[in-house]
């Protein structure tokens, strides 16, 4: 078993490949399985079947049944046994089939995954990644479409990451795998195959805890992540046609939030719209509000608007478009803060 640092980055003649987000996830997993023998993938249907979204396609064939494991249908068992694997030297990467199915494992995450370091004063640690597709908008059967990130951002001891592009997905996933602490890696299922992008070959990291600007503008700051990035982008483009220029920020990490990118933009625009598909109350949007309140209060020119999922259970898909923030709702919020 070789620790990560000992192996050189594999050189290839191609420097990028055009990949979808889900292919970028597969690429990251395959790259790290090849890099570090301690890495193991565990999940339901991830082996022979390659995962219900094909995120682990071909990996069991390539790396064998003791590295890419079809587990029993048992979320607490998967996460719980991964705690044991992790404290005894492995790097388990767990796939929860849908983030809305994570609740049976919630006790293991809340009580053990996130607390082993604290309970043992860093003698034992849990370098584990919990990957899961999340969110609505793909006409999935009920309960498959939750976006429960704030259940985890509220939980001390775990980082929460949520990419919206293929290149970020690979770089953030590799960073999550190399992270010495647990990371919840949320994959926006409606973006799995939405776009292709040039993704670097081999190992690279996108730093956890750093957002990025998607568009630049001086009038309004729009802050979002994951599957809401394209929704917000559409609204930002429509606003632009009306002469409102927006900074669009993709947070990429939900804990710890990038307070600097928020302050830098908000102190310029003084007007903010926060967009997330999770329910409004106790959503991560409130943490962003709190950061703005603390660091940029005196720069504000208008009350902050939030465009979020409603405080209702994520509905059956006949109504999911009404539940989800739409470009129209975001655009209305942008206009509201702009004209305040």
């Amino acid at each position: 078993m070789n620790p990560v640092a000992e192996k050189p980055v594999v050189e290839t003649n191609k420097t990028t490949r055009s990949l979808t987000l889900v292919q970028a996830v597969t690429d990251a997993l395959g790259t790290m399985l090849a890099e570090d023998d301690r890495v193991m993938l565990l999940g339901e249907d991830i082996g022979k079947n390659g995962g219900v979204f094909r995120a682990t396609e071909g990996l069991q064939q390539q790396f064998g049944e003791d590295r890419v494991i079809d587990t029993p249908l048992s979320e607490a068992g998967i996460v719980g046994s991964s705690v044991g694997l992790a404290v005894n030297g492995m790097i388990p990467i767990v796939e929860i089939q849908f983030l809305g199915f994570v609740y049976p494992a919630y006790e293991q995450i809340a009580t053990h995954v996130t607390r082993v370091r604290m309970r043992t004063m860093s003698k034992y640690t849990v370098p584990m990644v919990i990957r899961a597709p999340y969110g609505a908008g793909v006409r999935a059967p009920e309960i498959h479409s939750d976006s429960p990130e704030s259940l985890f951002t509220h939980m001390p001891g775990i980082k929460v990451v949520c990419p919206s592009s293929p290149a970020d997905a690979k770089g953030l996933l590799i960073a999550a795998i190399k992270d010495p602490d647990p990371v919840l890696f949320m994959e926006p299922m409606r973006l799995y195959r939405a776009v292709r992008e040039d993704v670097p070959v081999g190992i690279y990291e996108v730093e956890i805890g750093k957002g990025k600007k998607v568009t630049e503008g001086d009038d309004v700051t729009v802050i979002t992540w994951g599957a809401m990035v394209p929704v917000a982008k559409e609204a930002v483009e429509k606003a632009k046609a009306k002469g409102i220029q927006c900074d669009l920020i993709d947070m990429r990490t939900l804990f710890p939030l990038d307070k600097d990118i928020i302050a830098q933009s908000v102190q310029k625009t003084g007007r903010v719209v926060i967009v997330h598909e999770a329910h409004d109350t106790t959503g991560v949007g409130n943490d962003i509000l709190s950061i703005i309140n603390k660091n940029s209060f005196l720069y504000m020119k208008a009350p902050i608007e939030k465009v979020t999922g409603f405080d209702v259970p994520v509905p059956f898909f006949a109504l999911e478009d009404d539940y989800l923030p739409s470009p129209k709702r975001v655009e209305e919020a942008i206009e509201k803060v702009y004209t305040f």
Binding site: M1, M40, D66, T71, P72, S74, A76, G77, V79, G80, S81, S82, V83, G84, L85, A86, V87, N88, G89, M90, P92, P104, E107, Q108, T111, H112, V116, R117, M118, R119, T120, M121, S122, K123, Y124, T125, P156, G157, K159, P180, D181, G209, F255, P256, K259
Partner: protein, 354 residues
């Protein structure tokens, strides 16, 4: 089902052999090791209770009555094995080689109490049964590494009602992991008796559902506990997978020092059967019967044990005060900015008081 899972016993309440098939394996050294360790953890348990009553220790979980189960199961562990205890298994931990002052520190609300040098001891499971999947996972890692280490998960009768009991047993069984699931059936989960916990007559029979060996042993007979657990460890080390052991025992006292057992059981009855059930008395009778007993030796080890415990109490009480920085420093390897800010702000406030 009870007929399919008869209780294995080698030495009965009177201290004589009910099954002497293990006779050849019994040495004077082994018998004395049993007695020494059982007396040691009983003395510790009583001291801890007394410390709690004096306000020198936090709420404490007592295990008196379960000494044979805890010593017998831990004695044949090897140094690199993994132990996944509950909060009532520090008798087993001390036998395995846990640091006694650290055990006391744990019960005094200190995280340092989980740092036992040179032993793989996971922090005690507080939420019930969550440690069974952990033990399966640690055993899985050892299986992948190709060594001969085993994991043992301790749990009580109440734990068998939890989902994690099933999930841990199932993983161990499906992946044929080197783990022993050691149940101490002491008849009560706090106040709820076993017949309200399950409608099955034994816990051992649950092994059938997982296709793994299950055995039911007299948990007050240290010979049964020691030899049967050792066999299970040997199977695990040889790649033959997990075993479920049900050690039928009892706790003589309360669930914890914060519990009053007279609310849910007749304590007089417990006390009246005590002479018959006490695992330490049984071993003493066996030793007297088989000429292993030596009054002078018993007195010597009693003194030695008391000294060790007193010394551990001194160490616990002289341990440096908890460091407020530790509140923040062991959540992540590298502290994220929200914690940094909170830490700095709080430390400033603390220092302004000084």
């Amino acid at each position: 089902m009870e007929e399919l899972f008869p209780i294995t016993q080698y030495v009965n309440e009177e201290g004589t052999f009910s099954d002497d098939s293990i006779k050849e394996e019994i040495t004077s050294e082994l018998v004395h090791t049993f007695y020494y360790n059982m007396l040691r953890i009983r003395t510790f348990d009583r001291k801890a209770k007394s410390l709690q009553r004096q306000g020198r220790l936090g709420t404490y979980a007592l295990f008196e009555g379960q000494e044979a189960a805890q010593v017998g199961s831990a004695l044949s562990l090897k140094k690199d094995d993994w132990v996944f205890p509950t909060y009532r298994d520090h008798g087993a931990l001390l036998t395995f080689g846990a640091n006694m002052p650290k055990v006391l520190l744990y019960w005094n609300g200190r995280a340092e109490g989980n740092l036992h040098p040179d032993r793989n001891i996971f922090p005690p499971a507080v939420p019930i049964a969550t440690q069974l999947p952990h033990a399966a996972g640690a055993a899985w890692a050892d299986k992948r590494k190709g060594n001969k280490n085993v994991s043992i998960a301790y749990f009580g009768d109440g734990a068998t009602s939890e989902g994690d009991f099933h999930e841990g047993m199932n993983f161990a069984s499906v992946f044929k992991l080197p783990v022993v699931f050691f149940n101490q059936n002491n008849g009560y989960a706090i106040s709820v008796p076993i017949d309200k916990q399950m409608n099955s007559k034994t816990i051992a029979q649950k092994s059938v559902a997982y296709g793994m060996p299950g055995i039911r042993i007299d948990g007050n007979d240290i010979f049964a506990v020691y030899f049967e657990t050792k066999k299970a460890f040997d199977r695990a080390r040889n790649g033959d997978g997990p075993t479920l052991i049900e050690a039928v025992t009892q706790r003589f006292g309360a669930h914890t020092t914060a519990d009053d057992p007279t609310k849910y059981r007749d304590q007089d009855e417990v006390d009246s059967t005590r002479d018959q059930l006490d695992p330490l008395l049984r071993l003493e009778r066996f030793m007297k019967e088989h000429k292993y007993w030596d009054e002078k030796w018993e007195q010597e080890i009693s003194i030695k044990i008391s000294e060790e415990i007193e010394q551990a109490v001194v160490e616990m009480e002289n341990f440096p005060k908890a460091n407020v920085e530790d509140l923040f420093d062991h959540v992540f390897a590298e502290m994220p900015w929200p914690l940094q800010e909170q830490k700095e702000q709080y430390l400033q406030s603390v220092r302004s008081d000084q």
